[in-house]
């Protein structure tokens, strides 16, 4: 199997992602307007929200891959699920880091039990358990099955976690990202561009990780 980036299509994708991400950073720093009272702190939202979107999309893919694995019994879907879980957790960790960085100057406190942030934290903890479960399983086939099931259960729990945290602390204000759609074009367009950049970056990372996992599987099978 040839290296992932030896493929011209993948290499072109990598170059495009790097260029777009660089453009995205320049756009966030220089092109987006300063929001009164929030100043530079607000700019973190161009990274925070796309990271959250990518993380949740990734966990959705874990669930779909889990269903596909259980129905088709094809190892390919286990690799998709594992790759999506790993990358999703990376993006969710970014959300949990950038959230408090923004919250500290705006809300005066680094952590608030806001429903979306809390749901993200709980999902992150569930996925820590997911990786532990995988690594503590004695047989790879069993690990793949339990991981598929856990991916489905974790995603099914998301609406209930969100609702219960929302009702638990209704007095806590909602994230400003709710109003993102009603923002002026000066904010909305760079935000949508950032969302697009993160999404294509995510799919490149996912494909690359699946490729690496495939190589691992091949190595294990051949006993190298």
């Amino acid at each position: 199997m040839q290296p992932f980036f030896s493929d011209r299509k993948n290499f072109a994708w990598l170059i495009a992602v790097m260029a777009l991400m660089a453009l995205n950073l320049v756009s966030i720093i220089y092109r987006t307007p300063m929001v009164p009272e929030q100043e530079w702190a607000q700019k973190i939202f161009y990274l925070h929200v796309p990271s959250a979107w990518t993380g949740f999309l990734s966990y959705f893919i874990v669930m779909v891959a889990g269903i596909m694995f259980l129905s088709k019994k094809d190892q390919k879907w286990d690799r998709v699920g594992l790759a999506a879980a790993e990358i999703g957790t990376l993006f969710i960790a970014l959300v949990l880091i950038t959230g408090p960085v923004w919250a500290k100057p705006i809300w005066g406190r680094a952590w608030i039990w806001e429903p979306r942030l809390t749901t993200t934290l709980v999902l992150f903890l569930i996925y820590i358990g997911y990786f532990m479960m995988r690594s503590f399983s004695e047989y790879p086939e069993r690990a793949a099955r339990t991981a598929a099931v856990l991916g489905i259960i974790a995603f099914a729990d998301v609406p209930l976690i969100f609702l219960s945290v929302k009702f638990w602390s209704p007095e806590i204000q909602s994230h400003p990202q709710v109003e993102m759609a009603s923002q002026p074009p000066g904010i909305l367009l760079p935000f949508l561009f950032s969302l697009f950049c993160f999404t294509i970056l995510y799919f490149l990372m996912l494909r690359y990780r699946i490729h690496v996992l495939k190589l691992h599987d091949r190595k294990d099978r051949n006993g190298i």
Binding site: V122, L125, Y130, M132, F136, I152, A154, F167, W168
Partner: protein, 220 residues
Amino acid sequence: MLGFLIKKELLIELRAKESFITMASFSVVMIVTFAFTFTTTSGRFMEMASGLFWMMALFTSVLGLQRSYSYESEFDAFSALLSSPVDRGQIFLAKWFSGFILLTLIEFIALVPFLLFLRIQIPENFIQGIGIILLGNSAMMCLGSFLSGMAMRSRLSNVLVPIILFPLLCPVIIASVKSTGSWMRGFPLTDWDTWVYVLVSFIVIFGLLGYALFEHITEE
């Protein structure tokens, strides 16, 4: 067949009494620890009491869950159970229902020292309180039984169960604590019926998922 499986689970417990004694002692130890840790005469203690009750229930349930599957690994009894002509979903239901019965029994016993040692006045409308306890226990044991079955053949399964279970049980913990707190403070049901819906939804969703997916996690 389901009745037979539940009977088997309860009969094993009735003969050995291991889980029952362990769980009951643990819950009383926790209550005594709470009494030493918190100022029970403080006005704010009543707000915390419901949280302490469910914390006790949660930790106690983990003890029961671990025991419920650990005896299955003796003489590879679980493999024998799986090779019998029984729908695997029913094995999950039997574990869930028997665990629920055991946990509920222990909580009702623990309720006496809980109210007595922590100086909590018995709230009115006791039926509502029983309803909340039944729903909370059922939700906890539903997902708990499923995840314990999933983790039983992993290394460090005793550690894995709470690490995976507690975050997944967030909605149940919040809903149980909130509804118990509202009931203890005498609020009308219409003020906190949302929590009842959360608990019922959880039981329905994870009961169905557990029944459908248990076959996959027990595949040899």
